[in-house]
Every structure is written in C-alpha cells, then in structure tokens.
Subunit: 647 residues, 2 copies
C-alpha cells in the first residue's frame, strides 16, 4: 500500500445542485427525515407500528410496557439520527437539530450504568450477549456508533458520541481475542466498520483493535456460533435460522480463507467493508488483496446489472456464481447500499475506478429503485422482472412487493436509503493530499483543502442524459499545482477532455483521467463521455438471461413497464439492429430520458384457448418505450422487465 | 346423467404384460412392497426413520415410547396395505399376505374401544378432532379406509374392513350436518372419497351421507376453520400454516361456488375426486358440471405438460392461471396421482376421452418420473428444468432434489406411487353394461363380464413408440354383440381401424372409437394411432415458455439431459423445421426411444470472463438427444430441460 488512502470531503463543503439527484436528496431533508421521525414515533396512520421510540421510553422507565418490534428495532432511530447528522452537515436546520437532541437525550437515558445500550435486552431482561448469532446486539451497537459519529461531525456536539464511547469501552472489556473475554462476534456484521469510524474520530486504538478482533476471530474453528456459549442451546428468535449454515453469516471459514461472497448479502458487504478498513489501517496487503478477490467474485459473477445482490429470498443471500434469476431474487436495497460502501472504501484505498463504477451502478439503479419519488414509499426487494398477478399469487415471490410500501415492520431499508442519499457527497468526491477525485457527475460545488491550498470545483453535468461534464476550477491562488482526477466510466468508449476549450493530453490510469497543471481561477475542464444507448448482454453462463438483452445509457439500466407497453412484456422481442431513439419526456416523472425501441411482440388478440398446441404464436411489429429502471413503479402497478428477448 | 357410470374391471381379471409398464409394475410386487415394509419398520440403513410401525406398537401398548414422525405417519402403513391389496388381487403371494395380516392385527389392536384409530392422538393424548385444520386425523382415516377396501376386495378377509367400519361408524356419530354434531371437515380432504368407497363396498348409506356432509359443509360461512372450535386458539403443528388463507385448504368458498382450482394441489384433487363421486351418487348434474369447470381450469390453465400440478413450493399449491414456472414449481407426484384419480372418475361418469387423455399424460410422465428404475428412489417434486448446482445452492429451490431420494421423512409419495402402479388396471380399462373401454395401450389381457356374456380381450401394443394397437377379442360365444370403445388420444391426428385386416367404419364420439358388432372368437381389431414426434408450444400466456418448444411422442414428453448433451441446456436452440429422428437405444435404461434433434448452442469455449458486455455469444450447430421425461435422472445427476428454446 505505502500510500495514504483518499478521504471524504466534509459534507458541509459539498453543495449538490443537480436536476436529477436533487429530486431525491431534497426529499431527504424536506420529507423523509421529518416523516421518519413521525414513523418511529408511531404517529403515521396506515403505517405499520415501529415501536422504536416507545421502546426507548420503556427502557428509560418513562412509561410501562413490553418491548415490541424486532430485536434490532433500535437501529431505526440510529439510522435516522445518522441521516440527520449528514443532513445537518450539509444544511443547518435548527428544528431538525432540536428533535435530534431530544432523541439523543432519550437514547442517553436508556443507557445502562455500565455503558450497555439496547432496549430489547434491557426491557426483556434476557441475558446480554447470550445469542450473538441472532440477537443483533452488536449490529444495533454499530448503527448507534455510526449515528453518533455522523452527528458529532455535523454539530460538534459530544453527547451521543460520549454515549457510544462508553458503550464501546464496555464492549472492549467484554469482547476480544484476549483470554477471559468472549471470543464471539456479531451474527450480523456492522459494529466492525462502526468501530473503525469511532477510532478515526476519537483516535482510540482499542476500538480499532476490537474491530480487528471481531473480523479475525470470525469463522475460526471451533466456530463460536456452534459453541455451547452461543445459540445452539437456546430458542431461536427467528425460526428459519436453525436451518442456516454458518456461511449464512460468513462464519463458515476464517476470513483469510474466504474467496467468494456467501450468505446474507447485507451481512456480507458490511463485513467486507470493515475488512477493507482494517486492511488499510493495518496496512495489510494480503487482506486488501483478499477484499479484491471477494469484490471481483461479486461483480464478475454474482451481481445484477442494476448493481444489486442477493439472488435468493430465503436467507436474503448470495447463492452461486452466475445464478441471477430476475423475478425470485431478493436484491435488497440495503445490500446495494452495502456494496456501494464496500466499493467506495476499496476505491479510496486503491484509487481504482472499477470500484467507483460499481458505486455508480448501485446508486443510479437499485438505490433509487428503492424509493418512490414521493419520498414516502420504499422497496426492500428490487426484482428485475415483475408480473403483479403472479408475484401476488405465487408465494415463491411472496417477498416481492408490486408497489412500494409505506413502511415495513422490519424497517432497515428506508432509513438506510435516507442516510445514503444524505451522504451522497461521500460517494461523489474524494481527496488525497493534493488530488481531487470526481466520481459521480452530479452538479455540485465543493471546497477541498489540498496540500497546495484550498480549492473550489464547480461541476455542471447533464448526465447520464448527455454525458457532458464541465468543471470550473477556482484555486486559492493562480498557479497552484494539484491533480484533478475525473473518473472515466468503464462503459464510456472514449473521453474527450478540454481545458478552456483546448483538447489536452491526459494520463489515464485505472479508470481516471488525471489532469495536473498550474491552475488558475476560472479554468474550465470539459469532459465528454460516451453515454449513448447501448445494448448489454449477460455472460451466457447466466442462464436466465440467455437470448435476452438489456438497454443501458451511461450508468442507467432501462426497463419496460406495462404502463407504456401493455401486458406480456416477456413476449416482446427487441430488434437490436435498430438503434434506440432518445425520447426526452419532460412530463414523465419530472422529466425523464426515455428510449424508443423497435421489435416484435406476440399478437395476443389471436391467441387461442388451448394450453398446449402444435403451432407457435403470431408476432406483430411494434415500437416500445423503455424508461430508467430507477423510475419504475412511480405511475401505476404493472409489469416491469429489464432483460428483454432479442429478436 | 341418467346413466350408470362405468366401472373398473377387477384387478384379478387384468394381466399386464407390457415391456414398458412391467419395468415399473413388477417392481411394485417384487421390490417396492417388501422394501416399503422394511422401511416402515425402520429396518433400512441409510433411510430416514419412518417410526410408522413403531407408533402402532406404542399405541397398542406393546412397547413404551413417544409418537415420532408426522401427525399423519399412520398413512405410510395404510398406503402400503392398499398397494398390497392391489398386488394380491393381481397375483397371490402368501408371504406378502402373511405380512399384511400381521400388520392388520397390529392396526386392529391399536384401535380404541369406541372405534377411533390414530396413533398420534392416541399416544400423545391430545384431544381428538381438536385441530381439524392441521391434525390430519380424517385424512389418515381416509387412507386406512381405502386400504381396508382394497385388501378386502383382494382377499375377502373382513378384519381390516370391520376395523374401518367401526371407525367410520364412530365418525358418523361425531361429524355431520345434523345438529349436535361437529360441523367440521378435514383440513386435508381424503376421507370423503374413502367413505364413498366404503359405502360402495358395504352398501351403508350413512358413509355416503357423511362424505356428502363433509363436502357440502366445506367453505360455508362462518368458516369452521376460523371458528373457536378449531385451530385459531391453538398452537400450530406446522408453523407455516398460520400464514395460509382458507383457499390453501379449499375452504374459502362453499364448493358450489368454487370454479378455479386453488390451494394445496393434493388436497384439491382429492376433494374434487370426492365431488365427482358424490355428483354421480346423488345424480347431481350441477355438481358434475362444476367438477368439469374446475377440471377445465386445471387442464386448460394450470397444468404442466407433464401432467403435474402445483406451481409453487410454499403451500405446495396452485397459484394462478398460466403461472407455470419450470424450475421453482412443486409438481408433487401425489398431486399428479390425485389428478389421475379425479380425471378417471370424470371419465367413468361421462365417458369423455378428454379426461382419460389427462390420466395418460399424468401417468406416462410425472407418475413415472417420481420413481427410479430401481424401485427404491423417489421424487416428490418434479420440476421441468433442473440445474443441479443452482437447485442445490439457491434456497428458492430447496424443495427440489437433484437425485431421487431413498425415502423421505414425509413419506406420502413413494407409497402413493406404489399403490397407483399396483392398480394400473383401474386406469387402463373400464366397463359398462355391455361395453369395454380401452384407455391405456398397455399390453395386457382382461376378462370382462358384460351383459351379453363374459369376454376376453388381449391387447398387444408397442406404444408410445409405434402406435400400433392390436386387440384380440374372445367372446363367450360367437355372435355375441357388445361395444369395444378404443380411446383415440387427442394428439393422434388420425386413426386407422381394421377388424380382421379390413378397414372398418367406426363411430367417433368424445374421443372414443366405438366398434359394435357380432364378435366371434379370434376377431382382431387393429388401431393405428399417430404417435409421430411433434413439437408442442405453450399458450403464450405462459410467460416462462415464450420462445420455447417441447417435444412429445404420443403421451410422452421428452427432455434433454446433461448426460447426453452437456451443460447449459438452456443455451440450446432447437431447429423445429428439422423433423426429429427416432433413435431406439436398446442399451439405454432397458430400451428407450430417443429423439435426435438439430439446432444450435452457445459456444462456451469462446465465452469471456465479463459478466456484462456489449456483444452476444457465438452459436455453433449441433445435434441433440432427447429422452422421455419419465426416464430422466436414472443415469447421473445433471441438468434436465423440457422446454427448449426454439431457433
């Protein structure tokens, strides 16, 4: 490694002002965060009860009652608070801050004398750490730590940070590789990456060491989860867990022997994110290499074209290489977020654009598919093919919802989507000592403190629609020398770069266009990327996509919807010899770049009654309209299809 | 109706001597029945424990212990005993009969004073009839009654018949529409059709009436299963049941309002079989019409080409019209058997060949797919597409087994297959007052007592391979007049009929070739059916089969296996313009009619590493070998595919 990793630009120094993304990010500040607060306070009619805040009140002794909701229900307020932190970092909001301070007071009062914090175990009195396999105590702790770090960084207020430090101090006494401590680790990874964050903000090495112990002990034989200390002598909280093998929770092998992405997809990518953090902190080249091997296994063999992961609903998990069914998959919004987290960490360590390409793919497709344009409805599961009648009546697809839901009993995805949108800047830019990396082409303005001086970049883009990116550079002083690294996405067949209108030479390395010069105020970099429509095929080892093709434009995956194309989308055959035609539809969902495709479809007018017969159907020529996948299901319930038959 | 229904020919009067079928039916007598006896006595190493006989020993007080196995474990011995009855009817076997008598003694001793018989409830002491939704008491009773009827008819021994009559007498006191009785009905239908059988053999009308009450009360509002008397206040035996709606068990509507096949497929077709019986017994035209409506819904919209039903594993159930996924379906062997039972009843009442066509389709494909050619390994689940690696690693398909299993914990299918094979004659022939119906073209010899006199028919066929059927008629006396009705399968585009070598006119009605004349000894009817290979398409409303084609020959559905064609069967495109070529393979599985097909496949040698790219794969021309679906998985574990892409 021998190099420092890149870092985020403070969110307060990034102002996003993008026609496409602001549709979503403004929702976070204006709609989602206030709405989520009402939701976790059970004030929204028609939504499933959260019980989250109520559980804290009970744990404090403010009211009487029993714990309700999932064992990890506390994470609802934690993820909300983290998103609030990100939001406040970007834009002060005294009303929101006051609510958050109120929530923090409540959380602080629910903390036990010794630092322990978890309403489920506090209220029920069940023994702490008695079911690490299923109990989600460390997972919940992790989200609380992430929230505290974000809120502290946004506001400078230490109260919640002190709360989680006390909790982490207590965990350091209880867990670890040292003799006399519990050699267990979380059934659901999350605390590991959170402890690294806490170490980075406090400088306390013991937090890093505990994260490291958790990761290194995982999967060592004898497996902790199969030991007498753990679940096997107990009742299962989740009955289906008793059927799960150790690979469900990535504890089937020591981490250093794992080379494929296995098990529950969210757990996996949260764990790999921590592995990447630890590889960097301990300058462990072998561990970093292994992260890359696992990452490649995901991206080369187990990832949907929409940047989602988790091919099976049962276990919400990875299955095997090239197994990517389109209508029975899980593809959880949270897993996509975790994949973006893992990829972004790998990018910051290696400066390799392949990782940032996947961040972009995940965010532009599945992340946004997870949220409705009203900011109040969410998908957990993001299939690539839906036929509502079948999804609703065939219980093989009972995990698939045919419209976004207001709020779920298990509310992991909505607040996770909110915190990701609120921290979009962390994915858009990164800085080194004297370099600025531009990863996402989101119109915005950043200030970055480089070794050579403070620098402002203003990015203007019409992307993915047109692929033209303009960067206005304002150095602290003219003649300041630093590098601007603009990601050249893997899909872009070429890139034309000009500075102040003149074509310039650039250094292209691992997917980045590097421009170094003496910058002066008002310099304008322009990059023209190729975002023309393209038909994309799967590797034919993906059986479900044989004979099928998808349409992309830049990072956007397109889909057909029933609203535009009628029913039986799977009967449509696309003529890939005809170039897709751009159709900007300013009326559609606030302005959407659609595609018109030529092809054929079965003439269902002439279909007979018989179930089986000796003649094939008649086809008729037709044109079809495709829209970005992230926009689907914002108009009506209906069929949707990504992988279309090729004529 | 106004007509008597057709009847079975006594099994003792049918001698099957068929190259194809005897491979299976001989297994029943020689291998399966002795083997199953060892299995239910837990004497087979490597097989899951059955506990069936042990439970009876405990219930009798012979040994101490607790009930083990499923609540309906008693049905293992019942279905075995029923098959023994059928087997003994065909061919005396004193050793088998002695074992059966021993089993009957044990069963009789397990019966309670008042006639109740069920080891689970007797041993556990749980209140009888306290959980009709899940407890399977009436289902178990039904199988015991069917066994008793078969054994009595084969041997004339009354002991087990008396046992079930006492049980049925007791049930008549407890259940029924009369005031003061339980107005409940079984969660799993089966007892209804069994009570009709018991009525027919004993003449006791009250058994028929109870069957009728069970069927007529079902689904009436308020629904019994939702009443306080039933499950809702209790613990669930099967946790997943609490998620099931009333349509799972066909209790969502009164039977007279049900027009689609819903819920658990085995339950459904057992219930519909009883409905057909009752429609006939009560000469209820409306109910018969309704049976036909439901039957048409199955056959026209919800049945696989292999004659299997149940599109979803969760709930083992029907889903919705045209929803026929090929790799996640359940298609349980028992459900196919139930569909054959229902269809055979409908045929016997209506004399309509469409029903017998489905009997044939079910038996020639899914029934035989359910059993290995060693007679000791069975499939419960019969998918139409299997990729072992994916089926084993993607838990969406965790119900799919990639090789037949020795015996399952829930042992419904193996004994059900055995009893069906043992009673094949019931499906092959039927007789009216003075007509003989020939339904299955299985080489055999039958004696039928007609109004005009006793008649012998000798059938010789080489079917489905060649489609030539020869029937030698031997009337009791020359000049005897009666009708021979030979089924002309729906797939046969024509039929040439000769008697003693001369082409004759025949009357074709509802799928039967009727021949009436003064028969004399030695008359030979020859029927040439068209069993040439044919490509068959699904209705394009079946999305999973769009762009795909299957191959059939007579009733046989063909499939591709990895053993013959390598991996990635789903990459193969069949050229349907090239006629399939017959390839008789005398070495393969005791002689199999294979097909050689022309087409193309993806050249996997040239496939690159990328998961997604902008160019489609290269295809190469190749020939492929298809074998009958019923033969699959008898050589090696591997991929299998029924619906092939069409070039």
């Amino acid at each position: 490694m021998k190099q420092n990793k890149l870092n985020n630009v403070a969110l307060g120094n990034i102002k996003i002002n993008d026609d496409f993304w602001n549709k979503y990010t403004d929702l976070v500040d204006d709609v989602i965060l206030p709405f989520q607060w009402e939701l976790i306070n059970d004030n929204v009619e028609g939504a499933e009860k959260s019980y989250c805040i109520q559980n804290f009140r009970i744990a404090c002794g403010d009211i009487e009652g029993k714990h309700q909701g999932m064992v990890f229900q506390d994470t609802d307020v934690a993820k909300w608070l983290e998103a609030v932190g990100f939001s406040l970092a970007k834009k002060p909001n005294s009303k929101l801050e006051a609510i958050a301070d109120e929530a923090i007071d409540l959380i602080a009062r629910a903390q036990c004398e010794d630092g322990y914090l978890n309403t489920y175990y506090t209220i029920t009195g069940e023994p702490r750490w008695s079911n690490l396999f299923e109990g989600h105590e460390l997972y919940t702790a992790g989200h609380m730590i992430e929230a505290a770090v974000a809120y502290y960084q946004a506001t400078g207020k230490r109260k919640i940070l002190d709360v989680v430090c006390r909790f982490a101090d207590y965990m350091c006494q209880v867990f670890g590789a040292d003799e006399g401590k519990i050699h267990g680790y979380p059934g659901h990874p999350e605390v590991e990456l959170a402890l690294v964050k806490l170490y980075r903000v406090t400088g306390k090495k013991k937090y890093l060491n505990l994260a490291n112990d958790f990761v290194r002990m995982r999967g060592e034989k004898p497996c902790y989860f199969l030991s007498e200390d753990c679940i096997k002598n107990q009742n299962f909280i989740f009955p289906e867990f008793k059927d799960f093998d150790m690979d469900y929770t990535q504890a089937h092998l020591p981490m250093k022997e794992q080379v494929t992405a296995e098990g529950h997809a969210v757990r996996a990518v949260y764990l790999y994110s921590a592995m990447a953090d630890l590889a960097y902190e301990y300058q462990d080249e072998a561990l970093l290499k292994q992260c890359d091997v696992i990452w490649n296994n995901i991206v080369d063999k187990r990832m949907y074209i929409t940047g989602s992961i988790g091919s099976a609903s049962y276990g919400e998990r990875f299955t095997t290489d090239y197994d990517l069914p389109n209508n029975t998959n899980y593809s959880e919004s949270c897993a996509t977020i975790g994949l973006a987290m893992f990829s972004n960490r790998m990018f910051q360590i290696t400066k390799d654009g392949k990782y940032a390409d996947v961040v972009e793919q995940a965010l532009y497709n599945t992340l946004l598919s997870g949220i409705a344009q009203d900011g109040k409805h969410f998908f957990y599961v993001n299939p690539l093919e839906v036929v509502p009648e079948i999804a609703e009546k065939n219980p093989t697809m009972r995990h698939v919802k045919t419209t976004r839901q207001l709020w779920f009993g298990v509310a992991c995805c909505p607040p996770n989507i909110a915190r990701t949108l609120a921290s979009l800047g962390d994915y858009a830019y990164a800085v080194g000592d004297n370099e600025i990396y531009v990863n996402l082409f989101v119109s915005s303005r950043i200030e970055a403190g480089l070794k050579s001086g403070k620098t402002t970049l203003e990015l203007q883009a019409n992307y993915p629609e047109h692929g033209d990116i303009k960067l206005k550079v304002t150095p602290e002083r003219d003649g300041q020398v630093f590098e601007v690294a603009v990601r050249k996405p893997g899909f872009s067949k070429n890139a034309v770069v000009t500075v102040n209108g003149e074509v310039v030479e650039y250094c292209l390395e691992k997917g980045y266009l590097y421009l170094e010069r003496e910058w002066k105020s008002g310099d304008v970099i322009e990059v023209q990327l190729d975002v023309s429509f393209r038909f994309v095929y799967s590797n034919p080892k993906v059986r479900d996509n044989i004979g099928r093709v998808s349409l992309m434009k830049g990072p956007w995956v397109y889909c057909l919807e029933e609203e535009d194309n009628g029913t039986y989308l799977s009967s449509i055959m696309i003529d890939t010899a005809s170039a897709p035609v751009k159709k900007e539809d300013p009326q559609l969902l606030g302005g959407t770049m659609c595609a018109e495709l030529k092809g054929k479809r079965i003439n269902y007018q002439k279909v007979e009654e018989e179930l089986y017969c000796e003649h094939g159907p008649e086809y008729i020529e037709d044109t079809f309209k495709a829209i970005p996948y992230c926009c689907w299901n914002n108009r009506s319930k209906g069929e949707m299809l990504v992988w279309m038959r090729e004529q």
